[in-house]
């Protein structure tokens, strides 16, 4: 992986990109779309760009810019299977050399971030350019708790945001993702999630992480975290299940890259009592279900956590890693109904969030804690592999 320089946000001289860059722009307010296009045209010549969007952009503002009008799709907070399929089709029809997919809220991205993301795939140095956002410490917590550590441990990728809403794709990467997307769209599941890091790892494609600075992340339209968490986690678990032959082999993790991003700092205290209460309520009611999934050691750890005061509430990283792995195995074995399984994970996730907030409030750098958590996932990977292969024989 390489690090892109994104310190400067000054307008740069337009760079000629050949062949053309297809930019698939998610539907967003007109001012925001115009801002994205303005940022792009400040880095690339208008002739080398093709903007595909469902919004109506005023073409006279950017002479020479090709604007492709695409049909209005269902609004989504992240990139879906339909988006990947559409991107590859448009790239083929318009003979684009690379693709830049920008999700909702991409108007908040710096022009330098957009430029670096696009350049990573234009100069064919990478097949997949994935952004690293500079988010507040208490944002993107599902990503920090489950998506990032699992992806890092199993697919040996340090990409901090496996479910990023902006991506740079080479044509062969776009083709790979479109094939994966077709399986879902063929079954009328256009809103299915696709995991680009996993696909790139399995295909042996190069991935490059780019620091893009701060971004206002789009939030899911569904107000219920239970449904969203189950949907996202379930999708990742299913993808891991489908790629089991790949990740069971030991692989080397790329070295840590130098990041120019600022370490996030907490602005103030956050009340974790409701989350701890939710965990305690679940502990008194869901023991029967948890005991079907978790081994006695984990249950004992949860019991200790249940008896801990709110002020000292802290879930060990090893316990959380073991919990996620055991839920992943139960998902694979279908120990209980998968909907029930993912529902039973929610209070445990809330306990982790409460613990994470407690740790960061005590002065630990949030990123340092998340890195330690990811390392705990990596260290415990042999347990996952053993139980995956011999679920009945190996059950401590």
């Amino acid at each position: 992986m390489a690090t892109a320089n994104q310190n400067s946000d000054l307008p740069l001289a337009p760079v000629r990109s050949a062949p053309g860059l297809l930019v698939l722009l998610a539907s967003m307010p007109l001012e925001e779309s115009e801002k994205v296009v303005a940022n792009l045209t400040s880095s690339f010549s208008a002739e080398s760009l093709m903007i595909a969007t469902a919004d109506t952009l005023p073409g006279d503002l950017w002479p020479g810019l090709r604007i492709l009008t695409i049909p209005e799709a269902n609004p989504s907070w992240t990139l879906t299977a339909a988006d990947f399929e559409l991107a590859y089709r448009l790239a083929g029809e318009n003979e684009a050399g690379a693709i830049l997919m920008l999700g909702p809220g991409s108007g908040s991205l710096r022009s330098s971030g957009l430029r670096d993301l696009a350049n990573a795939v234009i100069d064919v140095s990478a097949d997949l350019a994935i952004p690293c956002y500079d988010l507040p410490p208490h944002a993107g917590l599902i990503n920090s708790a489950i998506l990032y550590p699992l992806t890092r441990a199993l697919f040996s990728s340090r990409a901090r945001f496996p479910l990023a809403v902006d991506l740079g794709l080479s044509l062969r990467m776009a083709e790979r993702l479109a094939i994966a997307a077709q399986r879902s769209t063929a079954l009328s599941q256009e809103d299915s999630l696709i995991w680009p890091i996993n696909e790139a790892a399995v295909a042996g494609f190069t991935t490059k992480e780019i620091d893009v600075g701060p971004r206002s992340t789009p939030q899911p339209s569904e107000s219920d975290i239970n449904a969203i968490l189950a949907s996202v986690t379930g999708s990742l678990f299913a993808d891991i299940d489908a790629k089991a032959a790949f990740w069971q082999r030991p692989r080397y993790l790329p070295p840590t890259r130098d990041s120019s991003q600022q370490a996030p700092t907490t602005d103030g205290p956050t009340d974790i009592t409701p989350m701890v209460d939710a965990f305690r309520l679940a502990y008194t009611n869901l023991q029967e279900i948890w005991s079907l999934v978790l081994p006695p050691n984990s249950l004992l750890g949860l019991k200790r956590l249940y008896m801990t005061d709110v002020a000292k509430f802290s879930m060990p990283d090893t316990l959380w890693a073991r919990i996620v792995f055991d839920f992943l195995i139960a998902y694979r074995l279908r120990t209980i109904n998968r909907g029930h399984l993912l529902g039973a994970l929610i209070p445990l996730y809330l306990a982790w969030v409460a613990s994470h907030i407690n740790i960061t409030t005590a002065g630990t750098n949030p990123e340092r804690h998340i890195e330690a958590l990811a390392a705990a996932f990596e260290a415990d990977k042999p347990y996952l592999v053993s139980r995956w292969r011999w679920p009945d024989r190996f059950n401590p």
């Binding site: 907070w77 917590l141 879902s184 602005d267 409701p274 939710a278 279900i289």
Partner: protein, 270 residues
């Protein structure tokens, strides 16, 4: 026995005794005839039913063996064809997720389908042989075929009750309802009571008594749940309504609620 009685009666030469001997001989003759006829009828009924019973067991055994062979064949074939992997790839995200792998599910389903087919064919063969040959009413036999349906109803009802109880328990816990377990138990017993009533109705046991008892029990459980939930969650509902007016959901995906007075940082799960 008859000879013994005759000798005993013949030993006395009294006329009255001779008369009695003649009468007793006639009674015994009648009793003996009646007993013979009864035994004949029972034996003939058993002989008539035996082929049916034999057909039942033969059908069951044959179809069980066929089911075992078919199940093993399907399991091997689907494993060889990597059916599970292909299905996962083609189906992708799916709301319906069975408790076992699709291959095992298909193999088991084929086995049990054969067993059920054997049961149905055996029962119908038995029923046919009984109906054609029966001259005496045996009240238990007609229940045999209904009992099969009743067993299926009972199994399905129990499975549905367990599934719904878990769904309600997890949903209620995630909604932070303090009476989650009580609610889950209530739903479980509602379904079980309904199942029991359906099974008894299918077996035609109890008649109106079952309907009446079911109505009372079902209504009682619903009323208890309604009162418990209504009274128990009064504060929760009012707080929920207030929160919907004032701010987004406390456990929504967006920023988690924080008191306005504090400088607390919002939590974003995504």
């Amino acid at each position: 026995m008859q000879n013994f009685l005759a000798i005993m009666l013949d030993s006395g030469q009294h006329p009255a005794a001779q008369q009695l001997t003649g009468d007793n001989g006639s009674i015994w003759h009648h009793m003996s005839d009646a007993l013979h006829q009864s035994i004949d009828r029972v034996l003939s009924l058993l002989i008539a039913i035996l082929p049916g019973i034999l057909a039942f067991f033969v059908a069951m055994a044959v179809f069980t063996l066929v089911g075992m062979a078919l199940s093993a064949l399907l399991r091997r074939g689907l494993t060889w064809a990597k059916f599970d992997d292909r299905l996962t790839q083609t189906r992708g995200k799916d709301d319906w997720t069975p408790g076992t792998s699709p291959t095992a599910l298909i193999a088991r389903a084929s086995f049990w389908a054969c067993v059920i087919l054997g049961l149905i064919i055996g029962a119908s063969a038995f029923d046919a042989s009984y109906a054609s040959a029966a001259t005496l009413p045996i009240s238990l036999l007609p229940y045999l075929t209904r009992a099969v349906g009743a067993i299926f109803l009972l199994i399905a009802g129990t499975l549905i009750a367990r599934f719904l109880a878990r769904s309600v328990l997890i949903g209620a816990v995630n909604a932070q309802l303090q009476y989650a377990r009580f609610l889950s138990l209530g739903v479980k017993w509602l379904v079980l009571v309904l199942t029991a009533a359906m099974v008894l109705d299918h077996l035609e046991v109890g008649g109106v008594v079952v309907e009446l008892a079911f109505g009372i029990l079902f209504g009682g459980i619903v009323l208890t749940l309604a009162l418990a939930v209504g009274l128990g969650s009064r504060d929760l509902v009012s707080r929920s309504l207030e929160s919907h007016v004032d701010r987004p959901s406390e456990h929504g995906v967006g920023p988690t609620h924080v008191p306005a007075a504090s400088q607390a940082e919002p939590i974003r799960h995504f």
